[in-house]
């Protein structure tokens, strides 16, 4: 038997952690309930989803033009725009800005694109510290971990674990498991940092082409602090985050937090239109936007896979995924976990690296059912399975790389038999005759189930005997 993959090994370990799993289940239950409560009227929910889908699909349909418009309006507003095809390029752009200002550290609001870039590690290798200020990110940074969820990065940690971590890292502060006190501790540490940070970095939820506005959705105020207090603000985002008009924002802002955490609205919503203007008392003196491609153009070029880029990163698919809730975010071994990661990561990094993820789905459809922009996630998973084994080129990165000779021959043989009724019927009749010889050990299936039993007479045989019409 083949050696289990890295993914299977991680899954196996995660499944064994029953306490963490119970904690995860509870957390996801709460998120699902909160979301449900936000959409009491299903017809209204479907209308909102239609609207959000149209807005995002429209933006993608004219992405090149909108990006140009965005650049020109941002530039006019005094925001520096940088384009990065790869994460290396994006990291270099950030580094150069840091060097230009002789900055030795930065404070960060939450940004999944910066995780995608591996920015913290990169900067560290250049002697620059990147301090996370989102509470969840702050916690996992203390523990040297990566986010396990795109909007709740430390969701895998219990308050007891966080209490111990704080006690270890800040020994001067008395041990407590009180969440408010722990939060206060982080807040006190960070407050001081905000005042002194030479550079603040953030992500972007929506970039408005029409006005050249960067929108940032957040709950803790750390996003606002990171983008307004330091003299330099660097925003990093994927090229797909652009929307056409300012009037596109309210519908998206309405459905995003409701789908994500089940909040009617987030505590903070920031609209960044320019650096500090003459006479203004606050705001950064310099604002940069780094627009990252990192495989998105390739996804964009396929009319079906393109839907992947509609994502507004709410995490609802993750919260509702029966696989994610059992294996947790880290098992995926990717930046984006759960259903969105399952379709995004293999396209971004190639099927060779993350192609196995598309097998880690029962195609139950729970993700597609809750997606606020109606990304047909199960269909895209199916498509990527096809991309993995197709032989005619294909459009996903590393298409064809998951094809295994034995599996391919098995499907060919199956296809031949099931398209030749005489062969099929002979096979099923033989199966009924040797039914007692079906082995009791069918590998993984029978590790938790008994082997399925073949009937003594097939449906074909029984309906024939009953005289059911043939035509």
């Amino acid at each position: 038997m083949a050696k289990p993959s890295e993914f299977r090994i991680q899954v196996d370990q995660a499944l064994g952690k029953t306490e963490v799993r119970a904690h995860f289940r509870k957390a996801m239950d709460t998120l699902m309930t909160n979301r449900r409560n936000q959409f009491p009227d299903n017809a209204e929910l479907q209308r909102l989803r239609d609207q959000a889908q149209v807005i995002r699909a429209n933006a993608l349909s004219k992405l090149p033009e909108l990006l140009e418009q965005l650049e020109s309006n941002l530039t006019r507003n005094g925001i520096h725009v940088h384009w990065a095809e790869t994460t290396d390029e994006a990291n270099d752009i950030v580094l150069k800005i840091m060097q230009k200002h002789n900055a030795t550290w930065m404070i960060k609001g939450k940004s999944m694109v910066s995780e995608e870039m591996g920015l913290n590690h990169f900067l560290e290798s250049k002697g620059i510290e990147a301090l996370e200020s989102d509470l969840g990110e702050f916690i996992i940074q203390l523990d040297g971990e990566t986010p396990s969820h795109i909007i709740m990065p430390a969701i895998h940690k219990s308050k007891e674990q966080i209490a111990q971590l704080f006690n270890e890292k800040f020994p001067d502060i008395p041990y407590t498991e009180d969440v408010d006190t722990l939060t206060r501790t982080a807040r006190d540490i960070l407050r001081e940092k905000f005042y002194n940070a030479p550079v603040g970095l953030s992500g972007v939820n929506f970039a408005v082409a029409e006005t050249g506005t960067l929108c940032l959705v957040e709950n803790e105020g750390n996003g606002r602090m990171s983008t307004t207090i330091p003299p330099v603000h660097i925003a990093v985002t994927g090229i797909e985050k652009v929307v056409e008009k300012l009037s596109d924002i309210p519908p998206l802002l309405s459905i995003l937090p409701r789908s994500a955490t089940g909040q009617p609205i987030t505590t903070y919503f920031n609209m960044i239109s320019s650096p500090r203007k003459k006479g203004e008392k606050d705001g950064p003196e310099e604002v940069h936007l780094v627009l990252l491609d990192n495989g998105r153009s390739r996804i964009y070029s396929d009319p079906e896979l393109l839907a992947t880029l509609r994502c507004i990163r709410c995490g609802a698919c993750i919260n509702h995924c029966p696989v994610y809730v059992r294996i947790g975010g880290h098992s995926y071994g990717t930046v984006y976990p759960g259903p969105i990661g399952t379709i995004l990561e293999p396209q971004k990094s190639g099927l060779k690296v993350h192609g196995e993820l598309v097998q880690a789905s029962s195609l139950c459809g729970a993700c597609g059912e809750v997606c606020p922009v109606r990304i047909p996630i199960p269909s895209i998973i199916n498509r990527l399975r096809y991309e993995g084994v197709r032989q005619d080129g294909g459009s996903a990165l590393d298409a064809g790389s998951k094809r295994k000779p034995l599996e391919a021959i098995t499907w060919k043989a199956w296809s031949w038999a099931a398209s030749h009724p005489s062969v099929y019927n002979l096979g099923s009749t033989v199966a009924t005759q040797v039914r007692n010889l079906v082995p009791h050990n069918l590998g993984a299936w029978t590790s938790v189930r008994t082997a399925p039993a073949v009937a003594d007479k097939t449906l074909h045989q029984q309906l024939k005997a009953l005289g059911v019409d043939h035509e």
Partner: protein
């Protein structure tokens, strides 16, 4: 393309599915009997095999299309095609149009797709069937397959049918809409996750105190039922029956 009305037809096709053919034929026989009792003539094209879904979900589209094409050729009359499985019905209704997009026989595939009904959907929406329960009082739980629930959108039909049975009490399990972990080849390719899912599913079903679990999909039943059997054999847990809705309805309503 034929126009399917929701009027009661005289004749329907029956697509039995390969899983029922080989493993659960009684479900297929019962479904045919239910249709016949309602005064419908049932045609069962004997050359039928499989809808092609296993290959489709594994990415082997050419192989799936070859098998699907052989089925399409068998269901040419403009009458409904009744399928006792949300999963196979979903394959033919939703995925045949994708599978045959741009193919020479796309129109035939679309025509077949437009005539597909999942069994409980047909019994409720088209036949408006009325059932009289002749069975002893029983407490059951219902597991609706993800394909019946989300792809076909017919989760309420099985409940409506069971609601007509006076002596049947349906108990509600926790996490009812959650997948049982079958997912076809998923159970083989990611056995650990699948096992964790069916362990939870069977636990929640057991916790209801039901003595029987009913579903409209034999894939789920093979998974859940197999786990129940294993737990009874190896974990000293109470045995629990599983049964397809057609078989359950037929057993309780035929005199």
């Amino acid at each position: 393309m034929s126009q399917v009305t929701r009027q009661k037809p005289d004749t329907v096709y029956f697509f039995g599915t390969c899983l029922i053919d080989l493993m659960f034929p009684q479900a297929g026989v019962s479904a045919v009997q239910l249709l016949q009792r309602a005064g419908i003539k049932v045609i069962y094209p004997p050359a039928q095999t499989c809808c092609g879904q296993p290959a489709w979900n594994s990415g082997y589209r050419d192989e799936a299309r070859k098998v699907a094409r052989a089925q399409i050729a068998l269901f040419t009359k403009p009458i409904p095609i009744i399928i006792p499985s949300g999963s196979c019905a979903g394959m033919m209704k939703t995925h045949y149009p994708e599978l045959f997009s741009g193919e020479a026989d796309e129109a035939q595939a679309l025509d077949v797709a437009s005539r597909v009904y999942e069994l409980t959907e047909f019994l409720v929406d088209v036949l408006n069937i009325s059932l009289t329960d002749l069975g002893a009082p029983i407490e059951i739980a219902v597991h609706t397959s993800c394909s019946a629930r989300r792809e076909m959108g017919v989760a309420d039909k099985i409940e409506q049918l069971l609601g007509q049975l006076q002596n049947v009490k349906v108990l509600e399990q926790a996490y009812k809409p959650e997948c049982c972990g079958f997912g076809g080849t998923f159970a083989v390719k990611q056995p650990e996750i699948s096992a964790a899912m069916v362990a939870d599913k069977t636990m929640h079903l057991r916790n209801t105190g039901a003595t029987q679990v009913i579903s409209q999909d034999c894939g789920c039943l093979m998974n859940i039922g197999g786990a129940f059997d294993y737990q009874a054999k190896h974990e000293n847990k109470k045995p629990l029956n599983t049964q397809h809705i057609a078989e359950f309805l037929w057993e309780r309503t035929h005199g």
